[in-house]
């Protein structure tokens, strides 16, 4: 084989097509850019985590417990090192007198020594060194800006008013995501008890940070703590474990993003295949002439394979460079979620993988049309024939290529997801999606061929006939654009689905403000303040804390130690906050048994009602007995009913409901929900209650929805940013396929003009064709996204999906406009130049 000639011919033959080839390349460029950006970012991140491992924890060891440490645990820690710093953290209202606003916050009472590694970054920078000395507080910088607070203003936590010494920018091991649940307020550990909050119902988290003595065997410490963990019930993290946790989370995140980016690359592949198809079709007579002149089938194939490979390589190279640049922007998107400062450098391995993947995808997808080149007969020089390229290939060849593509995609997804089953599902989902889109394309072409009414005017008939004519773009456009739309729209709809479940604002009858941790002696006072503010009280629910002591006669500890147990650890271990009442509430429905409303016989087993999911987690049935430890007093019970609870409402809901008459005398506190009519009243009521009862916490539903919306916005923005690559690839592929069929369209337009068609008639034909393609692609893409979101809602979130037609409407308009724009751009220049000039230029 004369390689010299083949390369020369590949180069010469590409000369007049390079502009068109660039469009094919663009699809690969975007796909590879997404890949390289994400993989480089992951490498950067892993490296950063490795470099900043100790700062992730701020110490060598962190031990936490929901109660004070037992002497033996403390003694063990003392044996490790004297370098210990304690932290007490809990949720409570922080009141800012300057703005008269109270906000549920995360209070952290810290000892001076923390952190041992890294620093608490503050504004001003010395604030972390001073707040303990000055008995002041540090408050999240973001909340200070939001409330227009300055250094020297004050914050009231419980009974103590602290001066704000500085704004918190960063705490070792925490990301901005830690502030989504409420602003962080750091106060000195030494006088935390004086806040009066420790005894009043708050859930406290006791943490000790330890810095090891030199020579400590950290693996041995982990082993010893592991051995003590079950009996003393505490949690711990050391640097290695924290590094693993963070690294693992990042691998999942980046693999997920990578997969979305991979879809862009696959779309690029489909774009390459369709472009090469059209390209090869245009080259049939050239190949036939070369075959006549004596070129072998392999020589003919190699000419175009070299072009496709070169195109893939150049595209991948540009993509890799672009991806490396984009990588610099990615940290801006995700820094809030990541507890390390991301160090940026070029990851050559990512660039290499991007190049290989890009070239492989280009060649793999180009092979199907390219192999048809081998079958082009020299006889085509004597007779012009319409060749069906796919028809030239044997079924076995097509099957083999399809299998290679499917295996390649699954293999890549496997590497990305580290889970073969998930990878198979990914490929399966993608295949089903593509098959549906291809099926729709065939259906539309058949329908257009059969059902175009002969009574339509000429422009309409021509425009619609373009949907099925040779060189039509129906299949390519539906596959690429449709898949991109499906992906992006699914993201939007899923986000909307999640927001919809918690957005109760504006819904009458539902509470929008909840107070909890109201002590028994405070309940009447709180209710009075609510009434004084003219606010409607919806629920005032007593809560009794308890733990499971035994199940069906077996001690909980014994069950926990049983390696064959079915019951789940969390359900056995947790502190239950139960209530008592004589009826079901509107958020509950009876699933099985009978709800007992009242029970007054002390000393006998109490008939209780359990939540359905919990029944499963504890492996229980109606009639089973449970013994509860109600703050030291054992209470025997048996299950008489099972309830289905709608947890997605802002009312307090319960796993376990006791009948009225038995728990009234037990130590208890209250949760109260109200419905305020304005934001001002919400703020005033919170302030009044916090000033009177500092330990009472308030959850402002509107505030939570806002925070969650903000959080989801950030998360979905990251996903959409990567998903955007798919849409861009879809558009490029669309533009590419439009450009390849440009000559065909131009010939028709020129012919029509030669035959006397007005310019506006020609334009109208194009508008009808592209508007139709746009509408169909948008609708089918959206239809599939509705299906996929409904499935995500059903299987993943267990939420019934109600589509948001405003979002869908906006998407439809944007998508049609985009397709129309690209289609019309494709006909530019046709109308102003003489027909012959255009034909010569385009040849």
């Amino acid at each position: 084989m004369s390689w010299n000639w083949i390369f020369k011919m590949a180069w010469r033959d590409s000369r007049s097509n390079r502009r068109k080839l660039f469009l094919y390349m663009a699809a690969i460029i975007v796909g590879v850019a997404a890949q390289v950006a994400i993989t480089s970012f992951r490498v950067n991140l892993n490296e950063s985590i490795g470099n900043q491992a100790k700062e992730l924890l701020g110490a060598d060891l962190e031990v936490d417990r929901s109660a004070p440490f037992q002497p033996e645990l403390q003694a063990y820690l003392d044996s490790l090192s004297n370098d210990q710093a304690r932290m007490l953290s809990f949720s409570s209202m922080a009141y800012f007198p300057k703005t008269e606003i109270a906000r549920l916050s995360q209070i952290m009472a810290l000892e001076d020594d923390f952190p041992y590694y890294g620093i608490i970054e503050t504004e001003p920078s010395n604030a972390a060194d001073q707040y303990i000395k000055l008995n002041g507080a540090l408050v999240d910088q973001s909340i200070m800006q939001q409330f227009d607070l300055t250094i020297g203003d004050s914050v009231k936590v419980g009974l103590i008013t602290y001066e704000i010494i500085g704004g918190i920018i960063d705490i070792p091991g925490q990301s901005m995501a830690n502030t989504f649940l409420g602003p962080r307020v750091i106060i000195p550990y030494q006088n935390v008890e004086e806040t009066g909050l420790l005894e009043r119902g708050s859930r406290l988290e006791y943490t000790t940070f330890v810095k090891y003595q030199p020579g400590t065997d950290s693996e041995l410490v982990v082993e010893e703590l592991d051995a003590m963990r079950d009996s003393l019930s505490f949690g711990f993290d050391d640097v290695a474990e924290r590094q693993d946790e963070v690294g693992e989370a990042i691998i999942y995140l980046s693999n997920f993003l990578n997969l979305i980016g991979f879809i862009a690359l696959l779309l690029g592949g489909i774009g390459v295949a369709s472009s090469i198809f059209v390209y090869v079709r245009q080259k049939i007579s050239t190949v036939a002439v070369l075959r006549c002149m004596g070129a072998s089938s392999n020589q003919a194939l190699m000419i175009y394979l070299i072009q496709a490979t070169a195109m893939g390589f150049v595209g991948s190279l540009i993509g890799a460079i672009a991806g490396t640049v984009i990588q610099l922007y990615l940290p801006v998107l995700v820094q809030d979620f990541i507890p390390v400062d991301i160090e940026l450098f070029i990851s050559w391995s990512s660039v290499g993988i991007g190049l290989i993947t890009g070239v492989a995808i280009s060649v793999l997808f180009a092979l199907i049309p390219l192999l048809a080149v081998r079958k082009i007969s020299p006889l085509f020089t004597l007779r012009s024939v319409q060749v069906n390229l796919l028809g030239l290939l044997k079924l076995s060849t097509k099957t083999l290529l399809t299998v290679i593509v499917v295996l390649g995609v699954t293999g890549y997804a496997w590497i990305m997801l580290l889970d073969l089953v998930a990878a198979v599902f990914f490929t399966l989902g993608l295949t089903i999606c593509l098959l549906l889109l291809a099926g729709f394309a065939v259906l539309i072409m058949k329908a257009a061929r059969r059902f175009i009414p002969s009574g339509l005017n000429y422009e309409w008939r021509q425009g619609l006939a373009n949907l099925y004519r040779p060189n039509n773009q129906t299949t390519t456009l539906l596959l690429t654009f449709g898949l991109g739309v499906t992906l992006i729209s699914s993201l939007y709809l899923t986000q909307d689905l999640l927001i919809g479940t918690i957005d109760f604002e504006g819904e009458e009858d539902l509470p929008n403000l909840a107070f909890f941790d109201i002590q028994y002696d405070q309940n009447d006072g709180v209710n009075e303040i609510i009434a004084e503010n003219g606010v409607e009280l919806i629920q005032n629910v007593p809560i009794v804390t308890m733990r499971l002591q035994s199940l069906k006669g077996r001690d909980v500890q014994e069950i926990l130690n049983d390696t064959n147990r079915v019951a789940r650890r969390w359900a056995l271990n947790r502190e239950y906050r139960s209530t008592y009442r004589d009826s079901l509430v509107e958020t509950e429905t009876l699933d099985q048994g009978e709800f007992i409303s009242e029970f007054n016989t002390f000393g006998e087993a109490v008939p209780i009602s359990m939540e359905k999911e919990l029944m499963g987690d504890l492996s229980l049935e109606i009639g089973d007995t449970l013994v509860w430890d109600v703050q030291g007093i054992p209470i025997e019970s048996y299950i008489t009913s099972v309830r289905v609870v709608n947890w997605q409402t802002p009312q307090p809901n319960f796993f376990v409901v006791f009948p009225a008459g038995i728990l009234e005398q037990a130590p208890q506190f209250f949760a109260t929900t109200v419905n305020t009519t304005s934001k001002d009243i919400t703020l005033k009521l919170q302030r009044d209650i916090v000033l009177a009862y500092p330990n009472v916490s308030a959850i402002d539903v509107g505030q939570i929805v806002g925070t969650l919306r903000d959080f989801l916005d950030r998360v979905t923005f990251v996903i959409q940013f990567i998903g955007l690559f798919s849409i861009i690839t879809g558009l490029i592929v669309l533009a590419g396929s439009a450009a390849t069929s440009r000559f065909q369209r131009i010939r028709e337009s020129v012919l029509l003009r030669t035959l006397g068609a007005m310019q506006k008639q020609v334009v109208r034909i194009q508008i009808i064709e592209y508007a139709f393609l746009g509408i169909i692609a948008a609708f089918i893409g959206l239809l599939l996204s509705l299906g996929s979101t409904a499935l995500i809602g059903y299987f993943y979130f267990d939420i019934e999906f109600v589509p948001n037609f405003t979002i869908l409407g906006i998407e439809v308009v944007i998508l049609i406009a985009l397709v129309l724009f690209i289609g019309l751009m494709n006909t530019r220049g046709i109308h102003s130049k003489p027909p012959l000039e255009i034909l010569r230029q385009e040849a």
Binding site: S2, K8, D13, G294
Partner: protein, 237 residues
């Protein structure tokens, strides 16, 4: 004289669904080296199909084609391509130049395919292009040339590999009379100077009469086979 092309009991049947159409039906003839032969006949008589079979562009349904001493119907597609590259030249009605190559590059293709050194090939291509009167248009693309000029490039390409046999399919069919005559002149002159055998398909009787021999086809069969110069008729077979 040696026969450079010999066909025996040549038949080509096309299938369309269940229907069979015999386009070339049991044809026999031989062509001597260095002669010129025209295949004539009305549209649909099987001229072009016969040319394709003789030049090894297509496989017969049955029968034998012996070209330059090789039985080509038993060769693979690629083996036939090698035979064409070594011994055969083509001129088509629609010129069939590669649109992405310049006139010079188009002419160079057959020799470059053999792997011959570019400088020599280039020199010979320029000579041939000059010979056909296009010495100043060597770097033009096909779309920048007129029909007659394109056909002249095609002729130069056909002769660059010094073929033993040249197949021409309606070489003047797409050209006006004056240009057509010029092209005919070129083909015959080059044919003579290069001592190539010429087989041309045409329905232009005037052109056919310039050949040594005329084979007339009708409905896929040889209707007559006559030598023009000595006015002698031979029945095929």
């Amino acid at each position: 004289m040696t026969k450079i092309l010999e066909v025996k009991e040549l038949t080509r049947v096309f299938k369309s669904g269940t229907r069979e159409l015999t386009v070339v039906n049991n044809i026999n003839f031989g062509i001597e080296e260095g002669t010129t032969c025209a295949i004539v006949g009305p549209s649909g008589s099987g001229k072009t199909t016969l040319l394709g079979l003789c030049a090894g562009l297509d496989r017969p349904t049955s029968g034998v084609v012996n070209l330059t001493g090789t039985t080509i119907n038993s060769l693979s597609e690629d083996e036939r391509a090698t035979v064409r590259n070594k011994h055969v030249g083509f001129v088509f009605q629609t010129f069939q130049l590669v649109p992405t190559l310049t006139a010079l590059e188009n002419v160079m293709v057959p020799l470059e395919l053999r792997g011959e050194a570019t400088s020599g090939v280039r020199k010979r291509a320029i000579e041939l292009l000059t010979e056909v009167g296009l010495g100043d248009r060597v770097h033009h693309y096909p779309t920048q040339l007129s029909g007659g000029e394109q056909q002249r490039v095609a002729i130069a390409r056909a002769f660059i590999n010094q073929p033993k046999i040249l197949f021409a399919d309606e070489p003047t069919g797409n050209l006006d009379t004056e240009t057509g005559e010029h092209i005919e002149e070129l083909i015959f002159n080059l044919n003579k100077s290069e001592r190539t055998t010429l087989v041309l398909v045409t329905h232009d009787i005037e052109l056919a009469n310039k050949c040594d021999r005329i084979i007339r086809l009708k409905n896929g069969k040889v209707e007559s086979d006559e030598l023009v110069s000595i006015n002698e008729t031979e029945v095929a077979g």
